[in-house]
């Protein structure tokens, strides 16, 4: 156990030493009495004064002697913590604290990394980028997109008559997506029920058909583009000359006139259909 006397003798400092090594700027030694007083930190000029005076009063001090305290160095008029000192002290493990090592010396013993040629780096980077590019070009998604483009292109170049039916491979076969197939089924059901019984309601409410052409004979041509992507379904609405009842009927997608659609229905040319006027019942 340490006695109080030994503590007092251990903490005794000479006049040349600062009041506090840890906070040299916080305490000021009165030169008349030799006692330490706390310094008001808000007044900076007053805090730096003791250090300056301390340095000025000790011109014979070396670097170590003008040190503000252990672990600190004097920079300008203020004492700052010296990290070099701590690092050096740790490196020497209990050696003299007077020894300083420059920071650059810490990296002198670092092992040399193998030097890489920049040309070699560029070569490997080019291979890496090229492999990514090639991989993306031949990815499954790209292959499918290319195949679809070829397919659509070939479909468009087969016949001008089937320009709008790029999803139809051959007569009787229609390639559609599952969603389109569901829409087709619903549309067919609606056409066979609502369309046959109430064509007007089917055209204007259920199907969302757009009117394309209306003739003087009362025929109307409608288009439905929402069932199959890229295909326009054409419907012609006509009335029975005797009863006046309305009917709707699909006509080929290349039909652009209502009377042309009616002529197609009866295997006639448009001009021949115009001649049937007056001979209808």
């Amino acid at each position: 156990m340490i006695s109080g006397a030994s503590l007092n003798s251990a903490e005794a400092r000479s006049d040349s030493e600062p009041c506090s090594y840890l906070h040299p700027q916080k305490y000021h030694r009165d030169p008349d009495t030799g006692l330490c007083h706390k310094v008001n930190l808000l007044n900076k000029s007053s805090t730096s004064t003791p250090v300056v005076s301390y340095v000025a009063n000790n011109p014979t001090n070396t670097f170590q002697q003008i040190n503000c305290g252990e672990g600190t160095i004097l920079k300008g008029n203020s004492c700052v913590i010296d990290f070099r000192h701590e690092v050096a002290a740790q490196g020497q493990m209990g050696g003299s604290s007077d020894t300083f090592l420059p920071i650059t010396n810490l990296f002198d013993n670092m092992p040399d990394f193998p030097k890489i040629d920049p040309v070699q780096i560029g070569f490997f980077a080019a291979i890496f980028i090229a492999s990514i590019f090639i991989g993306r070009q031949f990815s499954r998604k790209k292959r499918i997109a290319r195949r679809n483009r070829r397919f659509i292109k070939s479909r468009w170049s087969i016949t001008s008559d089937q320009r709008n039916s790029n999803v139809q491979d051959e007569p009787g076969i229609l390639r559609v997506t599952p969603e389109e197939y569901r829409r087709m089924q619903a549309f067919e059901r609606s056409f066979n029920t609502v369309g046959k019984s109430d064509p007007e309601y089917f055209l204007h409410v259920t199907s969302g058909a757009k009117l394309i052409d209306a003739s003087r004979r009362g025929n109307e041509l409608y288009s439905i583009d929402t069932i199959i992507r890229g295909r326009s379904l054409r419907l012609v609405k006509y009335r029975d000359p005797s009863t006046g009842q309305a009917y709707i009927c699909f006509v080929p997608s290349h039909t652009n006139k209502a009377d042309h659609g009616m002529a197609w229905k009866f295997h006639l040319t448009p001009r021949e259909y115009s001649r049937t006027k007056g001979n209808e019942a």
Partner: protein
Amino acid sequence: MISWPWNEPKLYRHGDLLLRQVDEIPVYAQQLSTNIIAHGENGNTHKLHGSHQVYGTHSSQNYRVIEPTYFQAKEEISLKHEEHSTLKISKGNYVIVHEREHNPFKGIEQEVID
């Protein structure tokens, strides 16, 4: 060659039927002893009244069936149907054409039966 209106073949529309005048009836057509030229889905029929002769050919749907395809009006005759008005047909030879419709989902054409 100019086709004068009075020289053009006559065309009649009767419901779902179209009657087109032709110069002559093909020799392969067979005479039928009936006045019905078309049947409807509801049992209604298109019937000829007057002096006429109906001719039939093999059906495109079923070869064994012979359906009326042509008729000869020996004088002005009338064509009647339960739902349609009576149509007067002048003397001559006629081919019976059925109305057709397009099936966009199957990509085919099919006959309309009313």
